[in-house]
């Protein structure tokens, strides 16, 4: 896999932004701010996986929080029953979520488009129901406690600022991984499937296997996100991984823009901080999200970041360029 210098340049803005974000603790922010930022960061990790699935492959999962939940519960159960700590739980939970993604993906991805969305939605609900009825093993509706500390080189990472920095490091790793996928031949293959499955198959691409593969890859991101969440909150319960959190994840990736590397970061931060900035209660914020989602889908099909990039290009070029997604229309019209 060779990566062109031009592709490397596209990574730079994200790295600069993340470096700035890592400097935030210097401004001695409030604990509340740091907690919100950590939650946002944990979501962003899952969003980078979702961007591979949705942005590159064109498959939308409406049950993605369930895969995060698999990772979170795996780490809590590993700690309780086997005394397994954070660092070993990470790969194990990532694999668990990936395997779950495969189990869901194999039957679900045989059906296309909207049917798959409904299947993932049902799967998300199913996981929440199983967790609620899992008795003592899953802690039923109350959930599980996870009070172990995360240590790194003998340093206790449970301190809020340290955990914040660790999450920023994980977000960076997720962004780089997602970027590497986008610019690899694997990413090209996924985009081909997104554009036209029939044509992709005619060129020797095993469409079904690659779609399941993309879902599994997104599961790895979700699992890691789940471990970070469980260790951060110290307590997890089924409702955190049911349909609403899944819809939020899908909403974040759409608002930010799934195809650009900055998109998941922008979506995650925006959705986490918008109610805070506008001082909205949860009901009001749901209404605002709904309106935002409709606006983004109608006005900015590439998401907020895609829209900003286009606006800037238009500004420098003198007049707005036609948006990329609509450019497909003329050829289709002629068919």
């Amino acid at each position: 896999m060779s990566i062109a210098p031009k592709a490397l340049r596209s990574l730079l803005p994200v790295l600069v932004i993340l470096a700035l974000i890592a400097l935030v603790p210097l401004a001695s922010p409030s604990n509340r701010f740091l907690s919100l930022a950590i939650s946002a960061g944990i979501n962003v990790i899952a969003l980078y996986g979702l961007s591979v699935l949705f942005g590159q492959t064109g498959i939308l999962s409406m049950g993605h929080a369930a895969l995060v939940g698999v990772g979170a519960y795996a780490s809590a159960i590993l700690a309780r029953d086997f005394g397994v700590g954070f660092w070993l739980a990470l790969p194990v939970a990532a694999i668990a979520s990936a395997v779950f993604a495969m189990i869901v993906g194999i039957p679900s991805l045989r059906v296309g488009g909207h049917h798959f969305v409904i299947m993932t939605f049902a799967f998300g609900q199913l996981v929440a129901i199983v967790l609620t009825n899992g008795g003592d093993y899953t802690g039923a509706a109350t959930g599980l406690d996870l009070t172990d500390h995360v240590t790194l080189f003998d340093a206790d990472m449970t301190d809020l600022t340290r955990y914040y920095l660790m999450v920023v490091a994980f977000v960076t790793a997720a962004a780089v991984a997602s970027w590497a996928i986008i610019h690899s031949s694997y990413g090209r293959t996924l985009r081909a499937i997104r554009e036209n499955e029939k044509l992709a198959a005619s060129l020797g691409i095993n469409v079904g296997r690659h779609k399941i593969g993309a879902f599994v890859v997104s599961g790895v991101f979700a699992g890691i996100s789940g471990v970070l969440l469980a260790y951060f909150l110290g307590h997890i319960s089924p409702s955190q991984f049911s349909s609403f959190p899944s819809i939020y994840l899908a909403l974040m990736v759409m608002i930010g823009g799934a195809r650009l590397i900055e998109g998941p970061l922008a979506g995650g931060i925006l959705v986490a901080f918008l109610p805070e900035v506008l001082n909205l209660d949860p009901v009001q914020s749901r209404i605002v999200y709904g309106v935002c989602l409709i606006a983004v889908i109608m006005l900015l099909p590439d998401g907020l970041i895609g829209g900003i990039v286009r606006a800037l290009r238009g500004l420098f070029a003198g007049k707005p360029k036609p948006e990329t997604e609509r450019e497909t229309a003329p050829s289709e019209a002629r068919q």
Binding site: S185, R188, T189, R191, A192, R194, E195, N196, K198, L199, A200, A201, S202, L203, G204, I205, N206, V207, T324, E325, E327, T328, A329, P330, S331, E332, R334, Q335
Partner: protein, 240 residues
Amino acid sequence: MRPILAISGLSKQFGGVTALAGVDLTVEEGEILGVVGPNGSGKTTLFNVVTGVHKPSGGTVLFRGRDITGLAPHAISRTGIGYTFQQAMAFAGLGVLENVQIAGEHARATGGASPWPTPQALLDFVGLSALAGEKAGVLPFGSLRLLGLALALATRPSLLLLDEPAAGLNDRETSALVGLVRQLPGHGITVCVIDHDMKLMQMLCRRLAVLDFGSKIADGPTEAVLADPKVLDVYLGGEL
């Protein structure tokens, strides 16, 4: 000499409709074979069954002696059969060069050196190198058809199936396409083309097979087939 593709007794039913009623057809190595027939005669169904888009109801397809009946489309592509669609020609949202790159990345591992070792060389061959940086979706229709041909060639096929390759092209574009397709046997690529454009077929093919209501009614040298009263009757309405 053993044919490169041997179709025998191939049939396909859609519900109660018989689209193919036991077709026998062979494609000889190095030729350009034309398959003609009126709309609904089963030409596209024949292609779709051979390439795995549809599973056949009966019959066998042998490619270089190997039974490929009912394999998945991607598996058939990897045996060395390339094909173009009437409609889905290219990945509209992706760049022209990226389109050809993708097409070459999943080609069969064996099959010798390609006459076009790089995506760029392939774009040169079809005359699209000037448009390499564009998005496929903005290409004019004629260029899109050529890009579709380039994608199929990028899979390094030894047999290329073309489904109405000249549909929607003007005369200049059609003759450019004919010029390209005629070169393919020289590069070791056998061609089978379906179309109902008789002028195109006369330019391209020395042998024609004629389908009508899912059955083959004629097969032979182009001139002989076009003089066959049966063909004139069902296909050309009695006159050419």
